[in-house]
Symmetry: C2
Subunit: 205 residues, 2 copies
DNA sequence: GCCTGTGAAGCTATTCACAGCT
DNA sequence: AGCTGTGAATAGCTTCACAGGC
């Protein structure tokens, strides 16, 4: 079953929202209110996820959580490689190290020899040239790019070369990758400029 | 003229890409290659932006930059308020303080008295209760939320109350705001989980 | 009556296909 | 010949409207 990207995003949010709060069952309109989407959207999403509820009691939270986890997670979890251990990279490392059950940053890489071999937040930092070897050794399945714009494409190439199928890119440049690799762009500066544009537009109206 | 959100996002990228590199003119397929979108998409976007080129020489970069700036920026610039001066807030402060010409984080706010009154990256930190007063005084037009999930809605309410029309939200919770306020969600953990899901899916196929 | 499940409609975004310019 | 501009077609996503169950 293939689930569209936007639906996946919402499923992640649903799971997170249900994680807190010990409800036994939940109605689509309740979950919708929490997630800020319509009740129909919730029902569609859960239908797409192959999950169903009952008219009387809505959705059984525990079962829904199981189904979402089945869809979203891999039982063995994921090991991620962080490329770029500068300011941003270190922030991300501490951000991600609040243990996510299933995703662990297993190794960090940097081109700067001064940063190599240090251990930060329980994560060893290697020379970026070791990426292919370590990726195989540590069973890395996802990459996180936190290098300056100029080195981002090279980092992506190295990750692709190492067989990674998913990349989270914080560098403010579009990456060129083969189609079977998913790149999720997190472009903070663009997000800020977008907000600025809409704030301006709102004032003009 | 109202420009769809997705188009705005790409226009921001186009401007950024054209900023580097001193080209005099550019063809849609070139810009498309840089931005990783099709040439038609570029032409549509520029058409939507009310800009036109010539078959002979493509688009004149200097004029295009002017047009994009006219659409995206406000001549007086924007003052932003950062709410939440924890780990994430401080990272963002230093990230944004690499001077963006038109957007400046003019004040920071936190509920923790220990953080109030400090000056970080040239930005004064106030008690969050002063937000309405300072927002008016400093002509704040956009808000950045970097507080823990539990306080995010309160921060959003305070910003809305202060008349802000655009919010950049880093807290991993959907915000409930009136429809004239644009909320741009930057959900890093969700992005990571999304990548993980697709990496898993890729392996399964 | 109030809920879920879902075909069909509606809306938004992207791509096709080609006319028109130089 | 090679480019831009754009109506029309297509694809993707969301909402409507309502049938069916408890």
């Amino acid at each position: 079953m293939i689930i569209p990207a936007k639906t996946v995003e919402r499923l992640i949010v649903y799971r997170r929202l249900l994680g807190r709060g010990k409800r036994v069952n939940v109605f689509s309109h309740e979950l919708g209110q929490l997630a800020n989407v319509t009740a129909v959207q919730v029902r569609r999403d859960l239908m797409t996820a192959g999950f169903s509820g009952s008219p009387r009691r809505g959705y059984v939270v525990a079962d829904l959580m199981d189904r979402l986890t089945e869809i979203l997670d891999r039982p063995e979890g994921h090991n991620a490689a962080l490329v770029g251990v500068g300011n941003l990279g270190l922030s991300l490392l501490s951000y991600f190290s609040v243990r996510h059950d299933r995703i662990k940053v297993a190794a960090a890489f940097d081109a700067d020899p001064a940063k190599v071999c240090r251990v930060v937040s329980g994560c060893r930092c290697y020379d970026v040239r070791e990426l292919p070897a370590r990726a195989a050794e540590l069973d890395i399945s996802i990459g996180i790019i936190a290098v300056p714009a100029g080195s981002a494409q090279a980092a992506a190439d190295a990750l692709v070369e190492a067989g990674i199928k998913g990349i989270l890119n914080f560098a403010p440049v579009p990456l060129r990758t083969p189609p079977e690799v998913l790149v999720e762009q997190v472009d903070i500066m663009r997000a800020l400029e977008k907000v600025a544009h809409f704030a301006k537009r709102q004032r003009e109206e």
